[in-house]
Amino acid sequence: EAPQGGSVAAVENTKGPVRIAFLSFQNNPFWTPVTEGAKAANDYLSKFDATVDFVDLGDELSAEAVVAGIEGALAKKYDGIVVVPIFDGTARIINEATDEGVPVFNIVAEGATESRRLAFIGQDATSAGKQIGEFIAEKMDGKGKLGVITGYFGATQHTQRMSGALDYLKASFPDIQIVGPFENKDKAESAYSLVQDMMTANPDLSMVYMTAGGPFGAAKAVKDLNLTGKVGVVGFDHTPDNMQYLKSGEMVGLLDQAPYQQALDSSVMLYNYIVAGQEPPAKVIPVTGKLLTPDDAK
């Protein structure tokens, strides 16, 4: 039977010890459930003579770090790799690993270039953006001003989340006027200042959409400007800071990516493939994030 929090059960191991490398980052609370998911997979699979080694690629997210990590895992002769490839440019090394007989399972986000990974489980950033866009449109009643703050200009995931929402809104709700986007480099303090300035130039702003890090900075600005209830912030990830403002009402919508489940399921599916050749159910396994609203936080 499937482990708690996961949806896939492991098959019997007839092959002997299996070693899986789980390559991920750690620089903010988003990664905490990912790490926990990997640990849970290790605990669960240890009963099947398999280990899942969590390998930290550090606190700076970049394609080069991913490439170096996979190279390292290949050097260490792991049987399979779960990786968070996040960026374009990781396809080649993933293909190389696959060619060497080491299957690779992508999770969370992957670059636009197709690779021959075993499968990808994660949220499609563009459709997540669209999901949030629909939510925003509903909240704003199809009109008014929406401020947009993105993490890094040019970061694929951030851009996709942004355009997923904005393309949808532009097409369906032309009365929603968009302010921005501005870059906050994933910094909450920068989001705070940006919201302050946006409110100065657009006193009638009613919603702020944050595609990446630091949404709670925007929420704090709304709170300090005494605009709770008048201006809402929507963003990603159920981190403690964000949740706190969901409770107090500055944050009106938070989409998550079910990171724990992604980590756990991917490890188990990869294990199943290694020991029994069992293919994952699809090449791309979509995860629909859970959109929390203030009602859920109470």
Binding site: N28, E183, A188, E189, Q196, D197, A201
Partner: protein, 320 residues
């Protein structure tokens, strides 16, 4: 009368290195006051002041370090570590006083470590503080497991509060700038900081305690970075271990924009504040004018270059 002294002031500026940044600041401000109806609103101006305050406060310390011919790359990480230490201790002991004191002390200790690495172990400050940049960030991450810690109380008042509508952090910046200005230009230690930056060897021969002064500037810079961390975390009511990441470049840019020479010995405190204000003003301008995304990045670079380029052209080929 006022007109006349104003003119003298401007002319006085003309002779100084900070003049061209000041001119750029004025130019951007004048342009903005025409281009946006909101720019001149007191509330907006005060926002700009608040946004500049942390960079300016940390830059005050950095300026002294650079005048003394050092450099401190670790300030961004020290901001994060101090905030985290303060928040964790506040949470665990329940005492605000302990938390805030510990936060400031953390900054001080980081600065002292930098100073000792430089003066005792003779490690180039660029490398020494690049090392502590990494170590301080790592400790902050280890202490929190990467998860922000809630932070509030008095620090929140300093970071986000207002007195008569004026942001407390902005007031604090003004006070500190005046204090550091007087310190640098009128106290013995202040003058000795300039001396050792200009000519360390001669200063030592004249009896200036090189080690003590160097240790002092790094410790002071660390302390101000610690204060900056408390303000920043207070503003957000949350101490994130990644707080302040990348601040070192902003802070150093403010110092150098303000006319301080990286080679030491020269620099003005007024200039540092102007430099920090220019950078905050730019970010404000992007939002007020709604400049399109990628042009923001380009414009920022252009303004930085122009701000200093004016000065270079005016000085002509007198150096080297």
């Amino acid at each position: 009368m006022a007109m006349h002294s104003g003119l003298t002031f401007v002319r006085g500026l003309g002779r100084h290195r900070e003049a061209s940044v000041f001119a750029m600041l004025a130019a951007v401000a004048i342009y903005l006051s025409f281009a946006s109806d909101y720019f001149l609103e007191p509330r907006n101006l005060l926002n700009v002041g608040r946004q500049a305050s942390v960079v300016a406060i940390v830059a005050l310390g950095q300026a002294l370090v650079i005048i003394a011919r050092g450099i401190d790359l670790s300030v961004g990480s020290v901001i994060g570590l101090s905030a985290v230490v303060a928040a964790v201790l506040m949470r665990d002991t329940g005492s605000e006083a302990i938390g805030l004191t510990a936060g400031l002390l953390t900054g001080l200790v980081c600065g002292l470590v930098n100073g000792v690495l430089y003066t005792r172990f003779r490690i180039n400050p660029f490398i020494a503080t690049l090392g502590t940049l990494s170590i301080a960030r790592g400790i902050a991450l280890l202490m929190t497991g990467g998860i922000p810690v809630p932070f509030g109380g008095f620090a929140e008042f300093v970071g986000a509060g207002r007195i008569f509508d004026i942001p407390v952090s902005f007031l604090l910046m003004i006070v500190l700038a005046v204090v550091v200005h007087v310190f640098a230009s009128r106290t013995v230690i202040g003058r000795e900081i300039y001396a050792i930056g200009d000519n360390p060897k001669a200063s030592r021969l004249a009896g200036v305690n090189l080690r003590a002064i160097r240790l002092f500037v790094f410790a002071f810079c660390g302390l101000l970075a610690g204060l900056g961390g408390l303000i920043l975390a207070g503003n957000l009511a949350s101490a994130d271990p990644n707080l302040g990441m990348g601040y070192e470049l902003d802070v150093i840019a403010a110092v150098i924009l303000g006319g301080t020479a990286l080679s030491g010995g020269r620099g003005s405190i007024l200039g540092v504040v102007i430099g920090a204000l220019l950078m905050a003003l730019l970010n404000n301008a992007f939002v007020l004018l709604g400049i399109s995304a990628y042009w923001q990045v380009v414009t920022k670079g252009l303004v930085i270059i122009f701000a200093v380029g004016l000065d270079g052209l005016q000085r002509g080929s007198d150096d080297d």
